[in-house]
């Protein structure tokens, strides 16, 4: 067990090293971080050169990379070129907003899709099942901005036009400290996220329950005279929960990254929007910082999920 964890961790470090090299090359070279000064009349060419020198931007790329990596390992992600703030601070300011949005959406998604998945598995091929399946197929094929823009059009723009109580869109100014306003602003983005991810989850849950219901031990349980309800709760759900645990475990780290498109459409001050805003400006310390945090979480959670799985499912042995 410990040997397994150690081996996986070494592999993970290697993977992370590749990730940082890849991300550094792509972000550092994608734009000139000092482009914002290009048209600044108060700076001469010599000033710009001096600034470049001071920030270490004229050194060879490998040197820049290892300097960034060395500081990043110590927890220093550098300073944003645009906002002049430390990247770590910027991320810790945005992370709670993203987590509030994403965790709420994830919990609702799991509850709703469990409900829908169980119904359509138990009542397989019924009208209800067909309706749920059709909708999850459509939801699965839908880009999230379709729903995000549509919900905005209907619940914000049209409701306002019709004089109904409307929900605010991100464009308005609002007080993030006021919990009522916070919740009100969360309704639309959370609903969009739930609709999109429920589609995939519900289909997945339906398939895994149906798979378990076809197993021999379920037939045995039925033959023993257990009620359908008991079979479902005692046998089917427990075993169908296994693959679900994996999926959720692997999805958790992605919650940190927030929902880039949804956050942008609704102007939600989260990680996804932070990434997107600073990627547009070519501000590589911020972009790299966000990428590093999310991918480290992804790599770590892959290992954690594998280990947790051995506790949940004793049939699996690590080697």
């Amino acid at each position: 067990m410990w040997a397994y964890i150690a081996r996986r961790s070494i592999q993970a470090l290697f993977t992370l090293l590749i990730i940082t090299i890849l991300c550094f090359i792509l972000t550092r070279l994608s734009a000139d971080p000092l482009a914002q000064y290009a048209t600044n009349p108060n700076m001469s060419a010599a000033d710009k050169e001096a600034l470049r020198e001071r920030l270490g931007l004229n050194q060879p790329m490998p040197v820049q990379y290892f300097r960034w990596l060395g500081l990043a390992i110590q927890g220093d992600l550098g300073i944003s070129f645009f906002s002049k703030q430390p990247v770590g601070l910027m991320i810790t300011q945005r992370l709670p907003n993203t987590l509030k949005l994403m965790v709420t959406a994830e919990i609702i998604t799991i509850l709703v899709s469990l409900f829908l998945g169980i119904i359509s598995a138990v009542k397989q091929y019924s009208l209800l099942d067909n309706v749920i399946t059709t909708f999850s197929f459509i939801g699965y094929s839908m880009p999230i901005f379709f729903i995000a823009l549509g919900a905005m059009l209907i619940f914000a723009v049209k409701f306002k036009e019709w004089g109904w109580p409307y929900l605010t869109t991100g464009a308005d100014i609002w007080d993030q400290k006021d919990p009522m306003q916070f919740i009100k602003h969360m309704i639309l983005p959370v609903s969009c996220l739930v609709i999109i991810s429920t589609a995939g989850y519900a289909r997945f849950i339906r398939t895994s329950i149906l798979e378990v219901l076809g197993q021999d031990y379920v037939r045995t349980a039925r033959a023993k005279g257990l009620s359908n309800r008991m079979v479902l709760y005692k046998h089917a759900l427990r075993n169908a929960a296994l693959p679900l645990v994996t999926i959720i475990g692997l999805d958790i780290p992605y919650l940190l990254g927030g929902a880039l498109v949804t956050e942008s459409v609704y102007a939600w001050p989260g990680m996804g929007r932070l990434f997107w805003e600073y990627a547009q400006r070519g501000d590589f310390p911020v972009v790299l910082g966000v990428l590093l945090i999310i991918s480290t979480a992804v790599v770590a959670f892959t290992i954690i999920t594998d280990i947790v799985y051995t506790f949940v499912d004793p049939r699996i042995r690590l080697n």
Binding site: F145, G150, V157, V261, S295
Partner: protein, 317 residues
């Protein structure tokens, strides 16, 4: 691999009616029975027909024609799907944008499937440090959330965009970049599947047989290993096409994709975002509907193919 396996019920049943079927015929038979997949094919053919006939009827000029007097007009006799913020006809742009979206999707999938098959195949076949390095790299790419990766790569490759001329039509170079960006960020799952398949195939007797007959690595690779993983490749390229079209929409929606005036379903929605506050619903509804319909049809076909290629999978739908 799966294409060779014939389920016992099938053979028993078929042998009474007709002589033995080839694996390909069996797959086709299973596929035909998949009702949703057939609907998917019908829908997809209709969409293709609409786009092809449409682009013959309506020239690209019309799609890019600016008419400021008619800007933001709702659907009418003159403009069936209304006009956008610079008065361009949305119906014409849907047709030409669809062409771009489909071309981008198909080329991106071709690129990513070749990349995935080669990376996975090479890693499994050679093993050792080649395998370790390639698989760590695959894992690294998979650990970066796909949209973030798309943006970073799009920014990187989009530094200098040129206009290219193909068959007398000039496309913004961004089309080429989008293809590479989408292809280069979506090969990883297939690489893993191909690797796993090749790993098990490598131990098969017929591979050692052809090795002892003196076949070269390249011959074994393209003659035996790749054809036997074809099922996985076909299924994942079909589902990958849906993903590529969706990714094109996302990238273009974020303004990193196909650049105007060339229309794509994704970049038509970018401009819709700013005008939704003014209630221009037609700018949003029509491109989205076409994206959803296309992806839905392709996903249905892909699902049918998966069931057809893998009869053991008892996926109830």
């Amino acid at each position: 691999m799966s294409s060779e396996s014939i389920s016992p019920e099938n053979t028993a049943l078929k042998s009474e009616i007709s002589p033995a079927l080839t694996p390909r015929q069996l797959i086709w038979r299973r596929f035909r029975k998949h009702r949703l997949a057939m609907w998917g094919i019908i829908g997809f053919v209709l969409l293709l027909g609409f786009i092809i006939i449409g682009s013959i009827q309506i020239g690209e000029k019309k799609a890019n024609e600016v008419d400021l007097k008619a800007r933001l007009s709702p659907p009418s006799q003159a403009h069936w799907m209304g006009t956008d913020s610079t008065g361009r006809d949305i119906f014409a742009r849907i047709i030409h944008g669809g062409q771009i979206s489909l071309i981008v999707g198909i080329l991106a999938v071709t690129f990513s499937v070749s990349l995935g098959a080669i990376v996975g195949g090479v890693a499994a076949y050679y093993g050792g440090w080649v395998d370790t390095l390639l698989m760590r790299f695959t894992e690294a790419m998979l650990s970066i959330p796909s949209l973030f990766l798309l943006i970073v790569l799009g920014k990187y490759l989009g530094r200098n965009v040129q206009t290219i001329n193909v068959f007398g039509q000039s496309y913004s170079g961004s089309v080429g970049i989008v293809i590479v960006v989408i292809g280069a960020t979506s090969w990883m799952y297939l690489a893993r599947i191909v690797r796993a398949n090749v790993l098990s195939l490598r131990e098969m007797d017929y591979i050692s047989a052809s090795k002892s007959l003196g076949a070269s690595d390249v011959r074994i690779f393209f003659r035996h290993l790749i054809p036997n993983t074809m099922g996985a490749i076909i299924v994942s390229s079909t589902l990958g096409l849906a993903g590529a079209i969706l990714n094109e929409a996302y990238v273009s929606f974020l303004g990193l994709g196909v650049q105007p005036p060339t229309a794509s379903w994704g970049n038509m929605l970018t401009s819709a975002q700013s005008f939704i506050q003014r209630g221009a619903w037609w700018m949003w509804v029509f491109p989205s509907l076409f994206i959803i319909l296309t992806i839905l049809c392709i996903n249905l076909i892909g699902d049918g193919l998966r069931d057809a290629f893998d009869p053991r999978s008892n996926r109830n739908l």
